[in-house]
Amino acid sequence: MRFDPILAETRFGCGLSPLVAPPADGAALLAGLEAPDVMAARFPIERFATFLSRMRTRRDWQKILRDNRGSAMGEAARKEIRLLNKAARQDNLQWLAAHVLRRVYSPTPFRERLEGFWADHFTATGKAGLIRRATSPYIEEAIRPNLSGRFEDLLIAAVTHPLMVHYLDQQRSAGPGSARAQRRPGVFGLNENLAREILELHTLGVDGPYTQADVRQLAELMSGLTLHFNVGRQFRKDMAEPGAETVLGVSYGGGTPHLRDIEAVLRDLARHPATARHVARKLATHFVSDRPEPSLVAALEQAYRDSGGELRAVYAALLAHPAAWDRARPNVKQPFHFIASACRALVVPPEALLGQSERALRLRLADPLRLMGHVWQKPDGPDGLAEADSAWITPQGMAARLQWAVAMPRILLPDLPDPRDFVTTALGPDVPEAVRFAARAAESRADGIGMVLISPAFQRM
């Protein structure tokens, strides 16, 4: 089992494209991660810093509304707030379109897949109001620039990001001995949520060597990390628990509380062997198989430990391992990957998505994703999407994929390709006979394209 360009594009890329040639070898795949990010430039997504200015504007209008209830001024403020909410909702769908189009046109699709993987590992979203639309800006700012550096930098960027701080209730967490909690007991106090998920989901894993005491100590150490509409990430000394905290037997802080103490514990957690194992297993599961070969996981873990968590080295180990090129294709594409790879094979034109109305984008992308089991940027919990294929191969999931595959390409593309040609475009030269037959026997082009897209050869990777 060794490198295969078709498999490379399917398993580590965004599917075959008639526009972009598959990579020649593993080195080319990796080199793509260093190439200029042409997709971010072509299909831009707002950065979180810009999104914050929307939140500031809304806050200002809200103050005007509060002070002028019942007057014409108050009504004007109410209208402005409504418009701001609407604009964010609409822009959020445009960003969904941009995410898909990056996958359609990317010459370096491994980057897009890694972004999807890490954005899910560090699942975060807004819980109420405008910030519900801020997930893509968070990914653009915290995840995308950190895909192939050191894990600890990605970890720090993600878990101290204002959106994560908001999502996991860190925002109002104040150490019980902090000035703020002392001044207003019962209003400000400790919240363990982010600390727990860092240990359980982001670093060590739930089987990792930590206890409730570690959760509590980490939560106390992290108190003071909060967010502010003017600056984004903020550290407030008056919310930080005074004194040192001990996490996994190591003492942190003790002097004047500072964000540096939090970064120090995160760097140590990132370098912990349990984190290496957790990240290795999750990558192998996501990209190769729900039950990855132990030797594959071990190779990734080793590369992680040897390099001190250099993700580039871990990816290199993944692409170099024979199990990564197993032709059995046990994994099934998650819904977003399924839709985006279909759009890539069809070369859906940008204008079929970008600039389309809210209603059109819901119909074409967001609603079908939901029916396939993936509610876009509204996760059930901080553990994100299921890795188990059985979570996706369900009757309702399959119904939604089949319906999308048959109906939506015709809406997205003015001229559908001939299904007899499309089998090779989408699947490469190795087409199962049943799929070739279905593409030929379908009574309409739409049905024929649909049969190719719902074939196991297209859905598995």
């Binding site: 119904a399 939604a400 015709r410 649909g450």
Partner: protein, 404 residues
């Protein structure tokens, strides 16, 4: 004509025919009795103390706001039901709503949603040493004499590991639907034929989508198919997700099904809990009401609905007006088969020394024991099977008398 409105009517007609005792009595004789069990998983950790407030406990006032009897319902015995569940007051008065308090699964200490839910659905085991690979409701189906592939339904997009396992069960999200050309239906089966998992999912999808009132096959070419699909999508966009789950479950349970499960989210109330919790409780009340209305009197009489969660929450409010992950909590029971109107509990007390880990309500009984007695009563399954197969390692103890 509005296709869906027409189909809803014809589906209702079909159901009333199927419910008639004159139609195919044999299929009902083969079913495993008349008892219906609906398990609602409350994901996120419901705060039992805010849902059923033990205001009679002298320690309660120092921990939580007192019940407001303008809105909250006095249950007697020192307990009050959150006003957001007020829609269930008539059920309580009719003795068809009950509470079990200070219970939990055997899960302790790490307080992870995911491990807690895994254990709740697996029905036992230790997350650190591996859980059973199947769900306890699936093992119940395996133990049920006369069970068929139509006996149990997992409803909604949630994977519902509680129903995963060797017994065949049905899975369907009521907002999914299909409209295809007859030729596409045949060809889809053909391209998937060599992939057992996908082929099985497709066949189940075609069967369920065909049986939900409107046929999958749309003759008349592409335009007709596109029209039908657009109507499906528009119908799926409306609100009331929970009502659709409950309505679909009720439809199935009126026919061959005896067991259904689905989940409701929104219980992880770390901050400003009054707001989030009231919303979640309101949804739960509407869901239970929709089940009762959908099942109708004769079937409701044989029904037990049970709402369970992975853990309770801390007894104290945290610094953000919410509660963190805890241990003991409450479960709710509803249905015509329930001996309700009571709070069943071996109350542990809320004094510092009574708490678990000095922070959580101490569970005084395994909630699986209550579930075990429920299924013993509903299906007549013997105790040994429950303690060894359905909930391995469970000691059922005395009968709490949850059923009439």
């Amino acid at each position: 004509m509005d296709r869906r409105a027409f189909l809803t009517r014809s589906a209702a007609l079909g159901c009333s025919l199927a419910a008639s005792p004159l139609v195919t009595p044999m299929s009902f004789a083969a079913a495993p009795g008349e008892g219906r069990l609906v398990v609602i998983l409350l994901r996120g950790g419901m705060d039992g103390l805010a849902t059923v407030m033990p205001h009679g406990d002298p320690g309660f006032a120092a921990l939580r706001p007192a019940p407001d009897f303008e809105t909250d319902l006095d249950l007697g015995g020192g307990y009050a039901l959150a006003g957001a569940l007020g829609g269930l007051a008539p059920l309580w008065q009719a003795g068809q709503l009950g509470v079990v308090h200070a219970v939990s699964t055997p899960y302790r200490d790490k307080r992870s949603h995911f491990d807690g839910q895994d254990l709740l659905e697996a029905g036992g085991g230790d997350p650190r040493r591996g859980l059973p690979r199947d769900g306890w409701l699936n093992r119940l189906v395996q133990s049920l004499p006369g069970a068929t592939a139509q006996t149990a339904y997992a409803v909604g997009h949630d994977p519902l590991a509680i129903l995963g396992g060797a017994a065949e069960v049905q899975r369907w999200a009521p907002e999914s639907d299909l409209a295809l050309s007859p030729q596409a239906i045949r060809l889809a089966g053909r391209v998937m034929q060599d992939d057992p998992a996908m082929a099985a999912a497709l066949q189940a999808a075609l069967r369920l989508a065909d049986g939900d009132g409107d046929a999958v096959a749309v003759p008349g070419g592409e335009a007709a198919m596109m029209d039908a699909m657009m109507q499906d999508m528009t119908a799926a966009r409306g609100g009331g997700h929970h009502a659709r789950l409950a309505g679909f479950a009720a439809d199935r349970l009126r026919e061959e099904a005896r067991i259904a499960s689905f989940s409701l989210n929104g219980w992880d109330t770390h901050a400003n809990q009054a707001r989030g919790l009231n919303r979640a409780l309101g949804v739960l009340a509407e869901t239970i009401t929709a089940l009762r209305d959908g099942l109708g009197g004769p079937v409701w009489r044989h029904t037990a609905v049970v709402a369970v969660t992975e853990f309770g929450r801390t007894v104290r409010l945290n610094g953000s007006g919410g509660t963190d992950h805890g241990t003991g909590g409450a479960m709710l029971l509803a249905g015509g088969a329930i001996r309700g109107g009571r709070v069943v509990t071996d109350w542990p007390g809320l004094a510092e020394a009574d708490l678990y880990d000095r922070r959580d309500l101490r569970p005084t009984r395994d909630l699986r024991a209550h579930l075990g007695w429920l299924i013993r009563g509903l299906y007549g399954i013997d105790r040994a099977t429950i303690e060894r197969v359905v909930f391995p390692g469970l000691e059922m103890g005395r009968d709490p008398g949850l059923l009439l």
